[in-house]
Structure formats: C-alpha cells, structure tokens
C-alpha cells in the first residue's frame, strides 16, 4: 500500500487534490481511497487530506500515520503543523515553493531522506499562469506523477476532466503537464 498525505490550507484544493489522485490511481487499475481530515472547513485554516493506493481492497479507515509521500501545498505550514510526522525514511516530500529545501530551513532535516525524492515545485506560479487562480493542488499532482511513477500524466489529466470541465480543466491539465515535464527534466538532469 502506498499512502499520500496532503497538507494545505482551506481554499487550496487539498481535498479535491486527494480525490483527483484517487481517481487517477483508479484509472491506472488500482484500488484507491481518498478522504479529508474532517472538520469545520474555513478558508486559510490548515487542512489535511489522505489518499491510499493499493492493488487490493483498502479496508483501513484510520488517518495516514506513516505516509510514503507528503504533498505540502503551503510552505507556511512547515513550522506551525507537524507536517512531517511519521514520514518513512524513503518517503517523498513535494513542497509548493520557489525556494530550495536549504532556503526553507530544511537543509539539515532533509539529509535524513533520499535526495532524489525531495522536490520543490512552483505550483502556485504554474496555477496562476495556466488557470489564473492560485490553486496549487493540480500542478503538485503532476509533479507527484513524475516523481513517483505511480500514476501517468494521462491518468492525472483524466482525473482533472472528471472534476472540472472546459477552460478550467484544460488550464489545469496544462499546469499539471508543465509540472510533470519540469520534474521529469530535473530527474533526467540529476541522472546525467
């Protein structure tokens, strides 16, 4: 089972992000389960959502305590919420930021993890560019698809079309694709 925990703030599409991830995984032939940390949702308040992916029925209903991947939609959460709690040593961290892990003050912390699994993505900028709204959830899914290889960018695009239509869907697909290609290029550059 592969478990993803998404941290963000109300209004950033955290819950929708987890739902789209589950749809993409389903389209890849997996079982998937997405659910929010339930609460009185308010714009700007810290929000957590979860997605489990497996090749068999998912029965577990507890929140994700030991994620294989973390998607952090808002870097201002890094020092107010224990976003890294339970992350496995070989886990992925994807942060929406224009800074590096060093610049975020995570230089020392990040040494505990595999460097090729730590990513930063300018997801808000990509969303503004392609969708016109600062909603970083979709580009981060594109980046996750590239980094993890668990889901294809085509599945991400289909999941976006399941949730949105028309110009908003196409803009989000463009944003996800650019994030996907950027991460792919970075991975190839690191290998070269």
């Amino acid at each position: 089972m592969f478990q993803v925990r998404i941290h963000g703030r109300g209004g950033q599409g955290v819950v929708t992000g987890a739902e789209m991830l589950s749809i993409a995984a389903f389209l890849e032939g997996c079982n998937a389960q997405a659910f929010p940390s339930f609460g009185s949702e308010r714009t700007g308040a810290p929000v957590v959502a979860f997605c489990r992916i497996d090749n068999k029925e998912i029965r577990l209903r507890e929140p994700i305590m030991e994620p294989d991947a973390l998607i952090i939609q808002d870097p201002t959460l890094l020092f107010s919420v224990d976003v890294f709690a339970g992350l496995k040593p070989d886990g992925y961290i994807i942060i929406n930021t224009n800074k590096t892990f060093e610049e975020l003050g995570l230089g020392e912390f990040s040494k505990k993890f595999r460097p090729e699994r730590l990513l930063t993505v300018s997801a808000t900028d990509l969303a503004l560019k392609h969708v016109g709204r600062p909603v970083p959830n979709v580009p981060l899914l594109g980046a996750f698809a590239a980094a993890s290889g668990l889901i294809s960018i085509d599945a991400v695009a289909s999941a976006i079309r399941d949730k949105f239509s028309g110009k908003i869907a196409e803009g989000n697909i463009a944003a996800a694709t650019e994030a996907y290609n950027t991460v792919k290029n970075e991975m190839e550059a690191a290998h070269a």
């Binding site: 589950s22 659910f35 577990l60």
Partner: protein, 418 residues
C-alpha cells in the same frame, strides 16, 4: 459499472436507480451531499417522475415523507445527528403507521457539546422507534443497502433507516460498482402499497387507538420486525443473485470459525478491525470479527450462534448509553445469556475520535489476556478527566465542563509545543 466516486454520490445514484417518487430534502452535515446529488439528478432529468421537495426543517422532511408515503408514493429522505432528533416525533409516527419510507442517516454525534463528526449516537437514540436499522461497512455496501432497503421496507410496510458513517464513508472517495437500471428494475418491483390514501377508495390512516387495541398494534410492530429477521437474509441472497456480491444480511463474520476472541462492531470501523485481525493472526492470535449489519431487528440468534464458542467477546461501539454502558454491548449480552464467555465493551470513536490500529491491538490483546475492564473507553485522556473531577470536588462554581476541558487540552498542547 465500476467507478471512483464519493460515498454520498454513490448513495444518491443508488437511490435514483430505485425510482423514488418523492424526495424530501433538508441539509445537515454530513448528509447534505446525498440530497444535493439527488437534486442534481432530478434537475438534469436523469431522475424522472420524482417530486423533489425542499422543506423547512427535518420535522417537515419526515412529515412530508409520511404524507407522500401514505399517498402511495415511494419516498426517500436523509438526515443526521440533531436533524434526526428534531424529526423524532414524526420518525415514530412513520413506523407506527407502517409507512415504508427509506431514510439515510449519515451517522454523526449528538450535542451538546456541539460536534459535527462521526459516531453512532444519533441512530442509537432511535433504536427502539420501530424502524429497521441497517449499517453499511463500505460505500459499496451503502449503495447496495439502499436498493435492498426499498424492497425490505415495501414488503413489510415498515420504514428502513440505512446508517452509514458520516464523513468516514459519506466523504470518502473509493470504488463503487454502480448497478445498472435494468438490474435494479429486475430486483425491485414497482411499489405496491398495503395501504394508501386514494379518493377512489377512501380510507383513513392514523386512527386514535385506546387501551382496547394499542397493545395489539404494538405487538404487531414487534412481530413485523421479527419477520424481518427472515426477510433480510432472503433479500440479501436475492441481491447476490442479481448483482453478484454479498451485501447486507443480518451479520457477517470474518475469520471467526476458530477464533477464541471475537470483536463485534457495526459500520466502517469493521474494515480497520479486519486489518488489525490479519496482523494479529500473522502473530498467531486466534481472533476474528463479527459485523452486525442489521441492528434493528436485533439478530440475537445469529449473534449467539456466531459467538457461542468464543472465550472473549469485545464489543467495539461508537455509542454510549449514558448511565449503563454500551448500547450494542447490552444487546449482545442479552443474546449471549447463559453462555460462558467474557464480554467487554469498548466505547470508541465518539465525536469523530480516530480509531487507530495501534489502540485496537492494545485492547484486543488485553481482552485475550482477560485484563480488559468490562467497560473501557478507547484512548481516553485520564489527565483531562481527572483534572475536571478535581475541579468539581474543590469548587462549587466549577464552570461549564466542555469549556474547562478545551482550555485544559489547549494548555497541554501549547506547553508541549513550547
């Protein structure tokens, strides 16, 4: 067709496939997405010949449901928590009149203190109201149970409450195999009422009944629920024939055959318990889980049979009968009268507290060793409890309990951060 969808939406689609003729809608979390989904299906024309009525309260929702069901229309509504309590008088009327309304309850705690999260207190408060109460383990089962519920309700002329965990199921995206209209039509015949208000053949429904006949009416209500004990497994078997999967029934067991310890539970937590059971089995523990899928009628015989060889029975429930202990556990104790096994009640998940595998491992092992108390509150914070008890011992004007406790909890949090 297999699809990845939200639990509420799967239920809305399943209800629509049952061709309801009247839907009474009033929003309350965590049920709202279901009636919203049905509203969309009516507006788009996918669900036809259905009057979708926005009402002004839950009391109105059930009152309109009573009227439309008495007029012979297949009727659906949904609610949760305080909404169920607010409609309580009409809830009793619906069953007392024998009207086959189907209602989803997206299980949620009851205040005060106000709490929007999941537990089973709402439906448990109505356990003796005369409605049939069936519980879903997954979103697949939630969708399936609604299709079975209309058939069950209409065959017996009794209302059915389909209980599904609020948020944990209603707001979860997972895969659901949505039946086709042809399958549902083959399973569920058009509604043929035992009684209906028809100007062409006038009757009155709702007579005042005095001491001369009230006991007989009440006995028949009980007798009908006893009939449901035979009908529920029959409908579940018919459902399997057409749809090809196990859904519903009275109880379902998992790894119980040789189990010395059996956990009894209702609803979505059964999934987490199954994973815990697998982990404990891998370490050699003889443990299983029995899911109760029909709580009313209470399947005492089926439960007695399933638990008769267990040395330890742990009833894990998301409800508490204050002043007694567990609601489900009290019922299970009655079913096991005379059987020599230890019965433990674990109250868990109240007001949305997470039920974690680590905590389940701990209490199940304690039960196996005979070291669990008869009534145990899972993951209770005794420091917080004792601090409030101390306050009440030492101060007459100790203040509102919920506010005191919230202050204590946030003080602990901020001191551990700083």
């Amino acid at each position: 067709m297999l699809k990845q969808t939200e639990g509420s939406h799967a239920v809305a689609e399943a209800v629509a496939l049952c061709r309801p003729e009247v839907i009474c809608a009033y929003p309350i979390s965590p049920q709202t997405h279901i009636v919203e989904g049905l509203g969309e299906l009516v507006k788009s024309g996918e669900l036809q010949n259905c009057e979708y009525t926005n009402v002004e309260s839950e009391f109105a929702a059930m009152s309109v449901a009573i009227g439309s069901s008495a007029a012979g229309a297949r009727t659906y509504t949904a609610t949760a928590s305080q909404g169920l309590l607010f409609m309580a008088e009409a809830v009793y009327n619906a069953s007392g009149l024998g009207l086959p309304i189907v209602m989803t309850v997206a299980n949620r705690a009851i205040g005060a203190p106000i709490n929007i999260w999941n537990d089973h207190t709402d439906t448990m408060s109505q356990r003796d109201c005369g409605w049939i109460q069936i519980f879903a383990e997954t979103n697949q089962e939630a969708a399936d149970l609604h299709i079975q519920a209309f058939k069950l309700a209409e065959e017996l002329s009794l209302p059915v409450m389909v209980c599904m965990d609020g948020f944990i199921l209603t707001h979860a995206y997972e895969q659901v195999d949505m039946p086709s209209q042809e399958q549902v039509d083959a399973f569920l015949p058009p509604y043929s009422p035992r009684q209906s208000l028809d100007p062409a053949a006038p009757v009155s429904i709702g007579a005042m009944v005095g001491p001369e006949a009230f006991s007989e009416v009440r006995y028949l209500a009980h007798a009908k629920q006893m009939q449901a004990l035979d009908l529920i497994p029959k409908i579940s078997a018919e459902f399997k024939e057409i749809f090809g999967r196990d859904s519903g029934g009275l109880v379902r067991s998992y790894l119980c055959d040789d189990a010395e310890t059996i956990v009894v539970a209702l609803g979505s937590v059964i999934g987490t318990i199954k994973d815990t059971v697998d982990e404990m089995r891998a370490e050699g523990h003889k443990i299983g889980v029995l899911g109760i899928h029909s709580f009313r009628p209470f399947p005492a015989e089926a439960i007695r049979k399933a638990l008769s060889k267990a040395k330890h029975v742990v009833v894990l429930e998301k409800s508490i009968a204050i002043g007694v202990g567990g609601v489900v556990a009290s019922n299970v104790r009655l079913a096991l009268d005379g059987i020599d096994s230890r019965i433990y009640c674990v109250v868990a998940g109240l007001g949305g507290r997470n039920i974690l595998r680590t905590s389940l491992h701990r209490v199940f092992r304690q039960a196996e060793a005979g070291e669990l108390e008869a009534l145990h509150f899972l993951d209770l914070d005794w420091d917080v409890v004792n601090r409030e008890l101390e306050r009440e011992r030492t101060q007459r004007r100790s203040g509102p309990i919920a506010e005191n406790i919230l202050r204590d909890v946030s003080a602990v949090r901020s001191s551990s951060v700083g």
